[in-house]
Symmetry: C5
Subunit: 271 residues, 5 copies
Amino acid sequence: MLPHADDAITRDGKALILAYDHGLEHGPVDFEPNPDTADPEAVWDLATHDAVSAFAVQKGIAEAYYPSYSDDVSLLAKLNGTSNMWMGEPDSAVNWSAEYAADLGADAIGFTLYGGSNYEVEMAEEFREAQETAREHDMGVVMWSYPRGQGMKNDTAADTIAYAARQGLELGADIAKVKYPGSGEAMAQACEMAAPTKVVMSGGSKTDDAAFLSTVESAISNGAAGLAVGRNVFQRENPIEILDALEAVIYDGKTAKEAIELTGDAALADD
Amino acid sequence: MLPHADDAITRDGKALILAYDHGLEHGPVDFEPNPDTADPEAVWDLATHDAVSAFAVQKGIAEAYYPSYSDDVSLLAKLNGTSNMWMGEPDSAVNWSAEYAADLGADAIGFTLYGGSNYEVEMAEEFREAQETAREHDMGVVMWSYPRGQGMKNDTAADTIAYAARQGLELGADIAKVKYPGSGEAMAQACEMAAPTKVVMSGGSKTDDAAFLSTVESAISNGAAGLAVGRNVFQRENPIEILDALEAVIYDGKTAKEAIELTGDAALADD
Amino acid sequence: MLPHADDAITRDGKALILAYDHGLEHGPVDFEPNPDTADPEAVWDLATHDAVSAFAVQKGIAEAYYPSYSDDVSLLAKLNGTSNMWMGEPDSAVNWSAEYAADLGADAIGFTLYGGSNYEVEMAEEFREAQETAREHDMGVVMWSYPRGQGMKNDTAADTIAYAARQGLELGADIAKVKYPGSGEAMAQACEMAAPTKVVMSGGSKTDDAAFLSTVESAISNGAAGLAVGRNVFQRENPIEILDALEAVIYDGKTAKEAIELTGDAALADD
Amino acid sequence: MLPHADDAITRDGKALILAYDHGLEHGPVDFEPNPDTADPEAVWDLATHDAVSAFAVQKGIAEAYYPSYSDDVSLLAKLNGTSNMWMGEPDSAVNWSAEYAADLGADAIGFTLYGGSNYEVEMAEEFREAQETAREHDMGVVMWSYPRGQGMKNDTAADTIAYAARQGLELGADIAKVKYPGSGEAMAQACEMAAPTKVVMSGGSKTDDAAFLSTVESAISNGAAGLAVGRNVFQRENPIEILDALEAVIYDGKTAKEAIELTGDAALADD
Amino acid sequence: MLPHADDAITRDGKALILAYDHGLEHGPVDFEPNPDTADPEAVWDLATHDAVSAFAVQKGIAEAYYPSYSDDVSLLAKLNGTSNMWMGEPDSAVNWSAEYAADLGADAIGFTLYGGSNYEVEMAEEFREAQETAREHDMGVVMWSYPRGQGMKNDTAADTIAYAARQGLELGADIAKVKYPGSGEAMAQACEMAAPTKVVMSGGSKTDDAAFLSTVESAISNGAAGLAVGRNVFQRENPIEILDALEAVIYDGKTAKEAIELTGDAALADD
């Protein structure tokens, strides 16, 4: 964790990371609710929204589009990832070297660690190499810290998420992305364990607007620096409005209710 | 996926990749229908046909013949491959480094990924290294994206092929070679998922002319950029004519029927 | 083992290593007795105590705080470590390269070896690389020499600890950190086996003051160069006082009883 | 396969490779028929025979003797090999780097590939590295192409040998060494599959002179470029005479019978 | 095997290697017969005896003491080794890089190969790298050639030891250290198989003086170049006298009986 290393992917110390690696991790099924989003251009356009402090994609999608969006989007190079056809213990291929990400102009790298998996040690060592290379190139480091596999019974238990956040700090992440541990109190514990490492909550599968914004509000008010979100934005019919609302909650300290009112979108309120 | 990286192995954005690595992948049995094709020279000669935008071979066959054909053939260096004596989970040895392919003058690299295999993670990481080296040397990147192994029940299901095409995009291929998913609609879905990455249909085992051309027509009219073909050309008695016909379908937008008529070959029509 | 290589992390040839990698190795549970210690800053402040000859932390915690403490704290870069979510044979990921530790200004590296684990050979080879890199950068080398795993029945048996200490010497550690083998005689044996390699006793889980100091006294009087301690300092309500007392025992040759009297802390005596 | 890369180890395009790595592969037992041959010098002397176009040895035997024979012997550095104490799936340790072979002055490298073994993929990748390094140093490349292991039922079946020969071509060998597939016709098929890659027949265990020469004649007349032989030369009492006879068959196109007559050795005829 | 590469660790072509890596390989138990020998200094002093042509130690013991003994002792850097807590198939961690050994001023490297172990291939490849690096730095190469593991029924059978000695030659060792195969005849066979590679007999566990010297005499008179010995020297009460006697047997061609008489040590004769 290096102070200010994440400046290029945060805004006033807060973060809204738009993630779009679902085509690799989950496959085409994630584009079904909103078929246009299979086209990366549609989501790159969303990423230009002021609320988005960084856009997380795999290498191929960065190669193809980032040169056209480099003035408007901060690139978070998601270095590892694996299809869900993979049937072994949780693991993630390193699909992108940190050097090449730097060459492409990435502002930060993203890396998944499956704590508790039978590949935890190997993934931690791959993270080491990526993290240290990121430092050479002044890129920030975001860890997707997701305990999973083998004997992991409850991967969103408060203790597990707190441990995951702490792994982010100890191993050298500037930002740790963790699942929402079910309560504001548990999120506060995770943030406390991460200490100077910022914690962002993972958006998860799509929920209704009010519930989603309310969870984000809870996370923010309990110390989270923001949100990393994919489906809860691009699977909606109103992605711009939800980004407006998230901007209000994350950067302006509004409540979910205020944000819905401010964005003046009946659809959001009634969804 | 890098725009224009595949220019040297496409023609007006379309591709007909002649593949000739069957001696390694399947063994001598593939030359039995047309014994002369065991001699690489015979197939290199076919590769000079105007319809062929790239010729995919393993290292040894490139070393021996490419210097004599470099003016007339675009070389697609198929970097990995394994004999069918291999009895483990689907895997493919990296037989050729991307650096050496560049030294030999290759225009692009080809690489197989078996999504869903117990070797998927390892192969994806080998692909990473090859892909990034290809970028250093301005070579295009073609992925043979073939889900296979373990629990993969149907490797030509529409969802599987769409996922395979998307893997090509996400991991950084300029062209994804996938099996024909059984219908034009399914091929359209795959092309949509690949977005800017071009999709070429794999020729597969030999079928009759009309059926084969009709499948190619279906693929092209549903968004495929072309075809990667081996046995359906070199196992025929009339390889030149089928290349003529494929040229008409792929580059000139002719129907299968028109192509057969245009090439004026009774043999093709009646095969 | 290189004479004087540990000068920067010892004081008159004695050592009190304050270790603070529990957030990775054990998780948040270790901060529960004293919740403020989840904040690394609180423990970095403890590390400025004169008694502390080196502070052992993982990479992320060094990156974030060491620049502010480099005048007052000697940095012992704990290179490997793993969460206790890991369920395989004892192993430890190399989370930090020795080069990067040197770049950050570390005075020494720390490395765990699980002798007897199914990963012993692999860990020893990782240690080799770290140790030799440490030599290039004039950093000292501390081995956490912890036989563990498979058929290891008693990991604090006198013979086991003596063997562990010897491994430290043979493989090139300047200091070997071992568990207390249950008696002063056994500790003497371990020190004899380590010969010029210094032996420090591992603090272990928290015990009461008198018992703890008495064990330290026994270790010191039987040849140990000092102590590596975490929980027995930072989980206490009186960490400063226990550091004062440890200073008396380790550097001044006081008995546990004298140390308690000297530090004039009733709480210590009565704990 | 690179035209002319094997010039230094062939004579008029033909090859007689004397192999002497039996001390590693089979152990001392292979020297029992002719105990003097345990002394490498005795076999180096045989290698100076005009019939021998290359001498294949492991590193230690090259280091010790090649400097004294470099004017008279072409060195074929057999890079991998394993003792028969090894009880795992067929595998072969890389005992010699291609760089070091080049430093010693080797004219070519030799490398075993066990197609079908559970180590096929790993061995093919080790071959890649050796082959490409050989190209950097203008050394020829000979593959000992030996399908073996797991489900391989008949490792001298015609189809298997033809496949083995083809692997040599596809992977970049200039010469493929294969077992005799039992008939001239089958050997012709293997040579056809290897196309420009030369095929040499493996000598195998010792047989009587007439039978041995007759098999060699059959191989040569069916397209083989020559022979790689060890025991059938050095286990004989008359190694010079058999080399004379082999020279007649391989380079001068004599029949086995003519060769026996030409060499005028009653022992050969009556053996 | 490179002629003269072992000059620095032999004397007139003969060798008495004093080995002292027992603290790693066997643990403290080996020092019990003579507790002072746990202190490396005591054994370094023995290594200055004129009879000792090389002293074999692990890295840590070389780092700590060699600078003080470099004028009087030839350093044989034992690169690999493992504790006997290891319970897997025989394997040995590479604890010391050959480069670092060269930097420390080593005259030669020592390396264990467990032929027949499930790690044989891996160890042979590690040996390759060490051996070739030794050549770059003009260091000699000694192989501890110890068939062991899996199906190895008798690791001192004559055939096994002969094979082990041959492995030393083939793989590039200047000296092969093997166990005594039970008879002078068997030792002669091993020496014949090693050809120019020198064979030294391994001292093994401590036996009485006359028996021990008699075995050494048998080895020497059957072609061995000498002895590698540890416990049979340092576990004795009279290590100087036994070294005197060994000097007579190894370098001066005395019989065991003559040596005992020459050294004039009643203790030796009556032991």
